[in-house]
C-alpha cells in the first residue's frame, strides 16, 4: 500500500534561535514520505538564511507579517500532501511522531485528525521557572489540543475551514472548538510526541491580558453557537 505524503508546516517569525532544532526534528522522522515547508511571516532576522542551508529538503514561502493564523494558512496553501502537520519553530517532535500518528489513520480510516500528548520544557535561560512549575499539573504530559501535535487530513480543513486570521493567540483552540462542534472524528493519543518549549518570547507570555481576552471571546462565541443547537450546561 502506498503511504500518503505528509506536509509538515513550520510557521516562523524571526525564529532563527530555535528553528534549526525544529527542522532537524522533522527531518529525523521515521515516517518516510514528508515535505517540509517553512511559512515565514515576514521575518527580519536570518530565519530565511537558516532555512536556505537545508537546500531542497525544506521549502520556504513568505508573506508580509499577518500573524500566526495567516502564516499557518499560507503553509496550508503551499502544501501538496493529503495530510497536514504543523510544528512551531520553537517546539520539537519525537522522531516517531508522524509514523505513530499515521498508523492510527491506517487503523481507523474514518479518522480525520489525530493529536498527541505534549510536554513542556524550559529553555536553559528559564531554569528558575522550570523549578517553579515542577509541581504544577501542567509540567506533566498534557493533552495537546494544539497545532504542534496535530496531524489532520487536508479534507478536514476543506470541510471546516482554515485558521481564523483575525485571531492572534487563540486560533488553534478556536479551530479545535469548531472542529468538535462539527463532529470531527479525532483521536487523542496517550503518547507524548511533542515537546513545547517555554522561553522568554512565547507569544502568549508577551501579551497575556490580550491573549486571555481573545481566549474568553472564542469560548463565548463557541458556547453561543452550541447553545443555539440545543446544548445545555452540565449543572448550575
Amino acid at each position: 500500500m502506498t503511504r500518503p505524503l505528509v506536509s509538515c508546516i513550520v510557521p516562523a517569525f524571526n525564529s532563527s534561535r530555535y528553528i534549526a532544532e525544529a527542522l532537524d526534528s522533522i527531518l529525523a522522522q521515521t515516517y518516510p514520505l514528508i515535505e517540509v515547508i517553512v511559512a515565514d511571516d515576514g521575518s527580519t532576522d536570518d530565519t530565511a538564511a537558516i532555512v536556505g542551508r537545508y537546500g531542497g529538503r525544506v521549502g520556504h514561502v513568505a508573506q508580509e507579517t499577518k500573524g500566526p493564523a495567516a502564516t499557518r494558512n499560507l503553509g496550508i496553501a503551499a502544501a501538496t500532501g493529503d495530510f497536514l502537520a504543523f510544528l512551531d519553530a520553537d517546539d520539537l517532535w519525537h522522531e516517531q511522531k508522524l509514523e505513530r500518528q499515521l498508523d492510527r489513520f491506517t487503523a481507523k480510516p474514518a479518522l480525520e485528525a489525530c493529536v498527541t500528548h505534549a510536554k513542556m520544557f524550559w529553555a536553559e535561560s528559564l531554569a528558575h521557572e522550570a523549578d517553579q512549575y515542577r509541581d504544577n499539573p501542567r509540567s506533566n504530559a498534557i493533552p495537546g489540543y494544539a497545532t504542534t501535535t496535530l496531524v489532520a487530513r487536508r479534507s478536514l480543513f476543506e470541510r471546516i475551514g482554515n485558521f481564523r486570521e483575525d485571531l492572534w493567540f487563540s486560533d488553534a483552540t478556536e479551530w479545535f472548538l469548531r472542529a468538535r462542534e462539527q463532529g470531527v472524528v479525532l483521536e487523542l493519543m496517550a503518547d507524548v510526541l511533542t515537546r513545547h518549549r517555554m522561553h522568554e518570547h512565547n507569544l502568549t507570555r508577551r501579551r497575556s491580558e490580550a491573549s486571555k481576552t481573545e481566549f474568553a471571546q472564542i469560548v463565548a462565541e463557541s458556547l453561543i453557537r452550541r447553545r443555539a443547537s440545543g446544548m445545555r450546561p452540565a449543572d448550575s
Binding site: F215, A220, D235
Partner: protein, 145 residues
C-alpha cells in the same frame, strides 16, 4: 461572610458579551456563564464593591426585596468562590466604580451555569496560570516583535 472579593485574574479569562459573562478557569478548562443579574454582579465584584453594597445595588435596580437579593448574592458569591474564580480581598473599591443603572427591572435569580464539556480541549493553549511576564529588555537579547 467575607465582605469583599476580587477576581482571580491569574487563573481566569473572562469577557462580557451582550450582558452575559463568560468565564474560563484556565487551570481546569471548565467554563461558566452568567446572564443578566449574574453578569452585573460579576462586574460589581470586579469593581471591588462589597457583598452588602452589591446587594443594595441589586435591590435598587431590580424588583426584588432586600432579603432575597442578599441571599442570592451571597449564594452566587459562594459558588464563584468554590469554583476558584474569585477570592477574598482587602482592597478598597475602585474610585468612582459604582454603576449608574436603570431601576425597576424584573428580577431573575442569578445562576452560575457550569460547562465541563471542553475541559480537555482548553488545557494547552491558554496562558499558564500565574506565569509572570518577563520584560523583553531583561531577556538579554533583541525582542522578536
Amino acid at each position: 461572610m467575607t465582605m469583599r472579593y476580587r477576581l482571580k485574574a491569574d487563573n481566569i479569562a473572562a469577557t462580557v458579551i451582550d450582558g452575559e459573562a463568560i468565564i474560563v478557569n484556565l487551570t481546569t478548562g471548565v467554563y461558566y456563564s452568567m446572564d443578566k443579574v449574574g453578569a452585573e454582579i460579576w462586574q460589581m465584584i470586579e469593581q471591588g464593591l462589597s457583598v452588602p453594597r452589591i446587594s443594595v445595588l441589586v435591590v435598587a435596580r431590580y424588583q426584588v426585596d432586600e432579603e432575597r437579593a442578599r441571599t442570592d448574592v451571597e449564594a452566587l458569591v459562594g459558588k464563584l468562590s468554590a469554583e476558584d474564580l474569585i477570592s477574598p480581598s482587602d482592597e478598597p473599591a475602585l474610585a468612582g466604580s459604582e454603576p449608574v443603572m436603570a431601576v425597576g427591572l424584573p428580577y431573575v435569580t442569578p445562576t452560575l451555569e457550569i460547562y465541563r464539556d471542553m475541559g480537555d480541549l482548553l488545557a494547552l493553549d491558554p496562558p499558564m496560570p500565574g506565569l509572570r511576564d518577563i520584560p523583553l529588555q531583561s531577556a538579554g537579547e533583541v525582542g522578536t516583535q
